[in-house]
Symmetry: C2
Amino acid sequence: MTLSTRTRRRLGADARRRQLIELGLRLLSREPREQVAIDRIAEEAGVSRGLLFHYFPTKRAFHVAVVTAAADRLVELTEPDPALPAPERLRRGLEAYVGYVIENRELYVSLVRGAAGADEELQRVFDRTRGRIVDRIVASLGVAAATPLLRTAVRGWLALVEETTLDALRGGDVPHTDLVGLQEQALAALLEAAGVAPPG
Amino acid sequence: MTLSTRTRRRLGADARRRQLIELGLRLLSREPREQVAIDRIAEEAGVSRGLLFHYFPTKRAFHVAVVTAAADRLVELTEPDPALPAPERLRRGLEAYVGYVIENRELYVSLVRGAAGADEELQRVFDRTRGRIVDRIVASLGVAAATPLLRTAVRGWLALVEETTLDALRGGDVPHTDLVGLQEQALAALLEAAGVAPPG
């Protein structure tokens, strides 16, 4: 086997993995994973059950891979556009966040619940995701060194964003602009309490 | 020993249950439940393993009963004193909350994590506890009817209080007065965003 053949085969495997994860993102975003049988995933992907298990040894492993991809997408989608003024950047980020949660509710619930549940891998995915968002917000504030109070404030704010977004979706009667306004004002107050000027 | 034996005999079923739960509150407040063997609980209670299982058919049932008792205590301890002016009432309530969490960390983690975990009973305990605290806060605001936005805001604030308290304990380098200040300012901002004047 030449090097290029090996590379091609490996790329093939990666591409197949990505294809299966993409399918998982579609199937698992609105239906709870308990309702999505592994046979259906294999069938829709046009692969055998055996091949699916070749890439993901258990249904849980597949679920963790899909939730990880969903978390990465959430981080990307809420990436602030540096061309925008700071308050606008925050609002756009929150709108993207809320929109993503609406479209991908079940995966989002898996991510957030994973943080507290028994699944250590999902807990790591959640911690890493929240850590990336905390870092990004802290970096945007332009402070020389983030105090423990500031990091705690930003982590608390993210918990608030998660809870209010899920709660508003559950009830369905909070307009999104009100929800985002609530989240914006909370951040401004928390930053002030942590002794930091809001970004901008 | 003689006295305790007599006392033990005289204990009715309810009193025995309460005694076992009290013991659980003491044993499980700082040690994770995985580290507390059922044999140790029975031994410290001076009862047989069989009798313990008579009251609580599984270790999980015992744990749920203890977490429920811990949640009830948390709600009681943070009950506002109507004699105090409103801002002072809130601060005292938060200080009691943070103090309770420090003293009963493991049970608190069980309660908060239960909300998101696979244990439906713990989830119900958490939902009921949070619901009681939300109702109490909303009632204290003296609004005729709580809007969905207001309830979402208060639920989000509680998520923030839980997260910041656990986070500050984890890191250990956020002074409690700063933590409580952060929580107070966040509530004021959220109430304002929900169109309600702060209590008082």
